[in-house]
Amino acid sequence: MTAAMRPNASACPACDAAPAAEALAEQAAQKDARLALSLPTIHCAACISAVERELSAQPGVKSARVNLTLKRATVEAEQDVTAEDLVGALEAIGYEAHELDAGTLSSTQNDRAGRDLLMRLAVAGFASMNVMLLSVSVWSGAEAATRDMFHWISAAIALPTIVFSGKPFYVNAWSALKNKRLNMDVPIVLAIVLAVATSLWETMLSGEHAYFDAALTLVFFLLAGRYLDYRTRAVARSAAEELAALEVPRATRIVDGEEDTVQVRDLALGDLVLVRPGGRMPVDGEIVEGQSELDRSLLTGETVPVYAEPGLGVSAGEVNLTGPLVIRATAVGEETSLHRMADLVAIAESGRSRYTSLADSAAKLYAPGVHILSALAFLGWYLYTFDLRTALNIAAAVLIITCPCALGLAVPAVTTAASGRLFRKGMLIKHSTALERLAQVDTVVFDKTGTLTAGTPQLTNLDDFSREDLAVGLALAMGSSHPLSMALSDAAREAGIRPAKLSDIEEVPGFGTQGKLNGKLVRLGRAGWVGAQALAQTSAFLSFEGRSQAFTFSDTLRDGAEESVQALIEDGKDVMLISGDSAGAVETLANRLNITKWVAEALPEDKAAKVQELSEQGRHVLMVGDGLNDTAALAAAHVSISPASALDAARVASDIVLLGSDLSPIADALATARAATKRIKENFRIATVYNIIAVPLAVAGLATPLIAALAMSSSSITVSLNALRLR
């Protein structure tokens, strides 16, 4: 919406927004509308107050709050306020704004799990500090009744805390045991329970050693690791959700000749849907009215637009280019080809779940080892002394000292640091093991259209035309918003061409633009329409004084594509190009980027099969793609990346999303991933070294709570500091 239209909207918001608002009102059932806007350019205090002031000044808006961390504004408003009004108002004062679909975002609104974890962490921190204070007095020489009192106070603090804060571990351990498996949480829970039980027993008998502080610090450090891990994934998830929410699922339905804005999920079979130029097909259907051209590149990878006329079938996801089209829905919701593709993805994904993370494989080695060691210590000491109390104390000490404090922090601390670093460079790590998998990559498969290329055409043969022809071409191109026309007018203007004076310029949707020069007809458009022979590459024809000449176009490379591919090749990776586009276009691009292996005219199944074949040869494939035709391959690959401009389905199927339009972070991400995996392994080694020193002491019965506390804290801190080196 432009600034000029806004006063009209403010004067009578109801008249302007009534049809759309009515439809929305029905769904939201008389509640105030809650609108969310994405504000990518805000960055300072002045922006916050300017945006909030402008939004609050809009009629019908009750409150507006900007969140600078998420770069988002939440608006509470009356039913008849639409997001378009607000976006228009913000754009008029110079802030870029996009509507976000509130339904898609709702899951991030209430971050219950994160808050729950934070609360448990806070309680554990409070309790462990207090108990540690009391323990320090015991270690420094409190005796007899004083020591007993300190132990009893510690117990009073520790017991409720352990019950409350340790809940996530109990739940995880229980579900693992129920499935007859061992995970990292089983030894953790055993150590906590045993430590508290023996400490309580010791306290009752006025014993010397109590491990309340150890049990609490253990819980605190482990929860810190869990929380870090959770935060990293929550940040990625909310950013990914925002990308999805940017595509508001609305369609224009035609009922009895009237246009009505509805949610895509409410469309039914046989509905007539209007798709304006630049719009995406919401459902599968058949064209019943209008002529235009369709951009199918997101579905098939073809760059040449397809001519569209009544009778042609269209698939959800295709983009309408020139004229308005009315389609009759033939498949909606789950039935559309977009959703059918999801089945392919599900099949391909089953292969990936076989990957075991480093943490899991460490746990597999570690959990049984710890249990056996502790049981042996118990048995040995019992047989040696026949004293259950001593034996149990030593078994508890072994469990506490070996407890995977450092192991619990080793992975999350590193992934948090690495994900943070990549996020600042514009990469979103969605999957928790994506970095580990990325580090193993030896083969990189690129999609062409929309991935290596920007998807915007560029004129290649400007010099073949005379200035006179160009002036006519420019004048015609300016009459259309077709991507090829826009590319032509950009190139011609850059060359300093002024448009020729034409009369009667009109756009014929689906064919091109025509006009009159000194009474003679001139045309710019499809080959058949101007009476020329079609070419294999993307082209538009200019017919002028009885002769026709072709403007040819190639796709512009995405920023950083060349550097990225070059860096990957130099790094010794096997780089491949698989595209659904024609052989000529693919070969040109492959040569330009020095890619020796390429496949053209690949169907979605072919892409997935090729990736699968490479995996079966034992290679670890990184797939980079954006289209619907790539989703199966993205899911089949060992690890996958898609750009932010990709179709939602492709982004969901990939592990990493590139937020900017630049491809250059890819090579960097591989290096960061390798560094991260190295750090994780280093951290495991550090934790092991601490255990090698401390475990013999514990088994020999020499470990005191002081030694346990020292070993645990110092190993956890070393591991975290080691992870921070990645930042």
């Binding site: 916050i48 969140n67 808050r115 806070a122 204070l133 603090i157």
Partner: protein
């Protein structure tokens, strides 16, 4: 040693107040927008009276 009878409850109560304050801040969504809060303090918009 009688002093412990005062000091230990005092230390626990002070710590407990800190914990309750933290729980209050979490419950009232005060960690939702750390960057925005850091910037908002620079704005002079509601310097004279609180936002109604």
């Amino acid at each position: 040693m009688e002093v412990l009878a005062y000091l230990i409850p005092i230390s626990l109560i002070l710590g407990g107040i800190g914990l309750l304050a933290f729980i209050f801040t979490v419950r009232t969504n005060q960690y939702d927008d750390p960057e925005g809060d850091a910037q908002r303090i620079l704005s002079d918009e509601w310097d004279d009276h609180p936002k109604p």
